[in-house]
């Protein structure tokens, strides 16, 4: 069993209402993030939308106001907790999004996807190509953008080839989510957990490449088995005949963005004795020349408008709320629960991975990640790796596991392919269970060997 080592700066244990207050606010924040209600401002016609960017911030503000001027909560939420610097996570996520959004807007993803997928002459080849493309694109870019681009291309190709798009859509959604665990930059949740645990870019890849590869391969195998009868031998229309050679919208911008992204990965993977700047500064610096370039091409504003700015207040609010949970002893209590998990054997990784995955489904992967990470001492490496795997696999268990999943379901509905929560989970639970077991087992093996 793990020794529960973290010291919490708790509120007076006897003050039960004060103790439950941060927990209620945390639950309310998650609820509001999912429900995103509208409120009319009294005596005006103005409507306020409590969306992702506002929900956690409102709850965090209430916590700060009613917790008796706890500046340490604010400080912990913005400046940092142990190894983690929330502001650096936010800058890193936003600057990487900027580079990836430029690639998307320049038509890079669409161009690559069309070239790659239209060469398929059989249903099986198309299945294989969707798998490879989803995996490769997700390795170095933002999985949300890959999901959105590939969804459109899959609909396009399947429409022309008179195919049922669902096997390919499920495949790309599952693969892009699971493959997101490969690299440090693959998902904001990776950055949060890795920073908490002090795992750098190279170490992260060393631990996660193999579990990611094996579990995505297994996921593809399971999806194939589920949908094999809907994957035809031959395509009715040769995909290659569907369109002429498509050109990229802006080759120059795509090239500059690709160089920036490659340099980001390269510089992050070099030792800190060579690159003496923190990881979060690297994409920020590289995004600057890209911004100048695309400003000269006239679409800087379009990209800036697309940056998911709301993630900044969302994460800041979450960090403050979780600091409130830590101060009132909830993370310590959860840590005690986790300390009941065996500290050796495959279960030491499997159980936290399973918990992280299921909690992601119920509370979304970002809140789960911040809460779980804050509850563990940084010496519990296996558990941190399990949380990384769980936070990426979680959105494949339940569609509510990530906001991208909810957005994806809306796009499917707009294409006349609405899926229900239960229909998604019917496949998702099978795929994610296989992925969790394999990823956990490999992480456990690696912990014994590395």
């Amino acid at each position: 069993m793990h020794a529960c080592a973290r010291q919490e700066t708790g509120l007076n244990g006897g003050e039960r209402p004060a103790r439950f207050f941060p927990l209620l606010l945390f639950i309310l924040a998650i609820f509001l993030t999912f429900i995103h209600p509208h409120f009319r401002v009294p005596f005006t016609s103005k409507i306020i939308h409590i969306d992702l960017g506002v929900a956690t911030l409102i709850c965090a503000s209430i916590l700060l106001i009613f917790s008796g001027n706890r500046i340490d909560l604010l400080q912990g939420g913005i400046v940092g907790i142990e190894n983690l610097r929330p502001y650096s996570v936010i800058v890193l996520v936003l600057s990487l999004s900027f580079i990836c959004l430029t690639l998307e807007y320049a038509g890079f993803f669409e161009f690559v996807a069309l070239k790659f997928l239209s060469s398929a002459g059989t249903g099986r080849k198309l299945f294989l190509n969707v798998f490879l493309l989803s995996y490769i694109l997700t390795l170095f870019t933002n999985n949300d953008i890959v999901i959105l681009t590939l969804t459109f291309i899959i609909f396009h190709i399947c429409r022309h080839a008179k195919l049922n798009p669902m096997p390919y859509l499920f495949l790309q959604f599952f693969v892009t989510n699971i493959a997101g665990m490969t690299l440090y930059i693959g998902n904001p949740t990776n950055i949060i957990v890795a920073d908490f645990a002090g795992i750098d870019f190279v170490k992260f890849a060393k631990w996660m490449v193999l579990p990611s590869l094996v579990s995505t391969l297994a996921c593809a195998g399971v999806v194939y088995l589920i949908f094999r009868r809907q994957i035809p031998e031959r395509l009715e229309t040769q995909a290659q005949e569907m369109h002429d050679v498509e050109t990229m919208r802006d080759r120059g911008a795509a090239a500059v963005a690709l160089i920036c992204l490659s340099l980001t990965v390269l510089l992050m993977s070099l030792p800190k004795t060579v690159v003496r700047i923190p990881n979060w500064v690297i994409p920020l610096i590289l995004a600057l020349p890209l911004a100048v370039y695309i400003a000269s091409r006239g679409f800087l504003l379009k990209i800036v408008q697309r940056i998911p700015w709301k993630i900044a207040p969302f994460l800041l609010g979450l960090f403050i709320l979780v600091e409130g949970l830590a101060a009132s002893g909830w993370t310590g209590m959860f840590s005690s629960v986790l300390s009941g998990i065996p500290d050796s054997g495959p279960m030491s990784v499997l159980l936290p991975c399973l918990m992280a995955s299921w909690f992601s489904g119920f509370m979304n992967n970002h809140p789960m990640t911040v809460f779980f990470s804050r509850s563990l001492p940084s010496s519990w490496r296996g558990m941190f790796l399990a949380i990384i795997a769980g936070s990426n696999i979680g959105p494949t268990t339940m569609i509510t596991g990530s906001l991208a999943g909810i957005m994806w379901s809306e796009i499917l509905a707009q294409h006349g392919r609405a899926i229900s929560f239960s229909e998604f989970s019917k496949y998702g639970i099978i795929v994610s269970t296989v992925a969790i077991i394999l990823a956990s087992f490999i992480i456990w093996l690696e912990l014994g060997m590395l």
């Binding site: 669409e110 681009t149 459109f152 609909f155 396009h156 379009k302 379901s409 809306e410 294409h415 929560f421």
Partner: protein
């Protein structure tokens, strides 16, 4: 009758929506068939023109002036509202999909958003069960 109508279409738009829209028009009505895409590449443009040709044809057969407009935005809901404001439309017609269960709780449909934000008459067309 209305002077300027915005008819929002997606790949899931059923015939009923276009039929209802045409009933709300007279010869003076101008119909803008609006489709929002995330990135407006040549392929997306060609694809949309091909996919929504039937909508334009249906309306033109009824003697209604109609044209397709493609708007590029990562946020379709607010893009529709901005388009309606910029074009001073006096009616918006769109289909609505009844979501059930947990997804109905966690995802806000475009029609829910339009009810709250569109500054003119809004007609939601639900497909018969």
């Amino acid at each position: 009758m209305y002077h300027k109508m915005v008819l929002c279409v997606t790949e899931a738009t059923p015939e009923e929506v276009v039929r209802v829209a045409s009933k709300l028009c007279d010869k003076e009505t101008e119909v803008i068939v609006l489709h929002v895409v995330r990135v407006l590449t040549d392929l997306q443009r060609r694809e949309a023109e091909e996919k929504f040709a039937w909508v334009i044809e249906t309306l033109k057969k009824e003697g209604i002036r109609a044209r397709l407009e493609l708007v590029e935005s990562a946020d379709p809901k607010s893009a529709i509202v901005s388009f309606v404001r910029e074009n001073s439309a006096d009616v918006v017609v769109t289909g609505t999909i009844q979501k059930k269960g947990i997804l109905a709780l966690v995802s806000e449909s475009i029609s829910d958003y339009l009810i709250k934000h569109v500054p003119c008459t809004l007609v939601l067309v639900k497909r018969p069960d």
